[in-house]
Symmetry: C2
Subunit: 321 residues, 2 copies
């Protein structure tokens, strides 16, 4: 929630001359996006999001992110569409930062999604996986199994501050995941961060997916596992089988999981829980007290990890087999 | 620049049932307004600003502020117009706070206004003064001459931390202003805070005035003096006579100043500089180090105060007489 960079009307107007975006009517900094500065623009051609990419985003990744949105939108997925400049480039520069004009997607994210919404999310995720086919740029997943140990080593020594015994438990879990991580599941472009705040609805209808800034190439089923973690647990930590069934049925109505993918689901879900546990643990330990960032509780993902460790058969997630 | 209160779609949708505002399509918290939480809504009926009034705003003042915007907009002034609820009320409640739906005003504020913009501001200010006639609710100006001493007493003992000799200089100035403040100039509803960020332009055309949350009843010419301070000084502290002339000529093209008002202008400008000096000084001394608020330099207004003290004749501001 931040606007890091302020922009002046003069700079913005001059930036916009490179686009066929109409005449500027207004712009407001919006409290959305943790990594970037975002503005909502109204022009005579309609609303747009203007994103300025701040330092935490690697400039080398921007052609992947913007190209992917363009690729997915062209294939009919409802997601923000970067507006090309008159010279064809998707990226410009404003106030010394890389900047892009992106179509405004109407919709709101659901603070309390129900099973019917999980079904829509499953459908949209599968459609995204199919639409990603043929996208030419690759981006490795820096937060998949090879990335976890370096991340863990930054926090391990202090992990027991968060819960006694954590250093040992996570150390063992990490060894297990590294030894058993699957080697040959179907790959493609995954969203990798499809939490409720990245899925817009108007009423009960899903209006689109946003925030592709963690997207990368990885196992498609790993993305499903991320969504099970993000959408199908209740606040009390319990797994909601109805939501899981809805999400998986929705997904499989568009792209059925192979037997290998289905069998790997518990392990992928453990891995996905590990990934979010580790980044949250790091932020928890490293964010200075009093910083204006909401620290997310890493233990939420420790509990999910333990749940998945006890799952013996993917039907326990609600998968119909 | 803040969104203090987050709202959920459920609460917002239920709030909106009291209005004839169309179907909600999206809402974004915007980084605008220091005292309140503001959201930009898109509905099937267009864009709106939703304002939640936080604790710093006195609830008893809200009927004045909202009623005034309604009064001014009805009389043709371009300003945000509160949307009445179906029951006629201008104020509702959302997330435990008083809240209003307000029409969205297109336009941008100018970071570097030129003389031609100052002329437009003068015209708009005079139009506002005429349009305010007949508004039935009164609100005293808590930041006029009677309010300065109580404010000064909170900072006086520490004033020399900001500049040596300040305690003595401001003490004397305050005595002078209290002894010489005019007693019978034309009164009306004034904006009282018409700084560049409260005036919107599209290109070079003024599209409207916003932020009436300091508006009150006071001398109309005092509002002119506030604008001279807010619009007609350069960053180096010098008074820009061309801008002053443009602003005053614009104002007088709609509402000529009386001889008494013209004669009082240097004193009113000193008072207006005192008012902004005192609130800035207080914030400067009282805001904790490290707070995320941009502290505005009180010395900017001390320099303006000294300038006005040396003005002997209002023609020095660019007034044609």
């Amino acid at each position: 929630m931040a606007v890091y960079t302020d922009i002046t009307e003069d700079d913005l107007s001059s930036f916009l001359t490179a686009y066929d975006a109409g005449t500027l009517l207004s712009y407001k900094g919006i409290a959305e996006g943790v990594e970037n500065s975002n503005f909502l623009l109204h022009t005579t051609k309609g609303p747009f999001i203007l994103t300025l990419y701040e330092k935490r985003v690697d400039r080398n990744d921007l052609p992947f992110f913007l190209g992917l949105m363009h690729h997915l939108a062209e294939r009919g997925l409802s997601c923000p569409l970067p507006l090309p400049r008159k010279d064809g480039a998707l990226l410009g520069e404003l106030s010394g930062r890389p900047a892009a004009m992106i179509s405004f997607l109407e919709g709101m994210w659901l603070r309390k999604p129900a099973a019917r919404h999980c079904r829509e999310v499953g459908i949209a995720l599968a459609k995204m996986h199919l639409a990603g086919d043929g996208f030419q740029i690759r981006r490795e997943n820096a937060l998949s199994v090879e990335g976890w140990r370096p991340l863990w080593e930054k926090s391990a020594a202090r992990a027991d501050e968060v819960e006694a015994g954590l250093q040992k438990e996570i150390g063992q879990e990490l060894h297990y995941l590294e030894a058993h991580w699957p080697g040959n599941l179907p790959e493609g472009v995954i969203h990798a961060d499809l939490f409720p705040d990245n899925v817009f609805f108007i009423g009960d209808d899903l209006s689109g997916l946003i925030d592709f800034y963690f997207a990368c190439n990885d196992y498609l089923a790993y993305d499903v596992a991320i969504c099970l973690n993000a959408w199908c647990f209740e606040k009390d930590g319990s797994y909601n089988l109805t939501k899981g069934m809805a999400l998986l049925t929705g997904y499989e109505s568009v792209r059925p999981l192979s037997d290998d993918e289905a069998a790997a689901l518990p392990l992928l879900a453990r891995g996905s829980a590990m990934r979010f546990f580790l980044t949250r643990l790091y932020d928890w330990l490293m964010t200075p007290a009093g910083a204006l960032v909401v620290k997310k509780d890493p233990l939420e993902y420790l509990r999910k990890l333990r749940f998945h460790r006890a799952v013996e058969n993917p039907v326990e997630y609600g998968l119909s087999r």
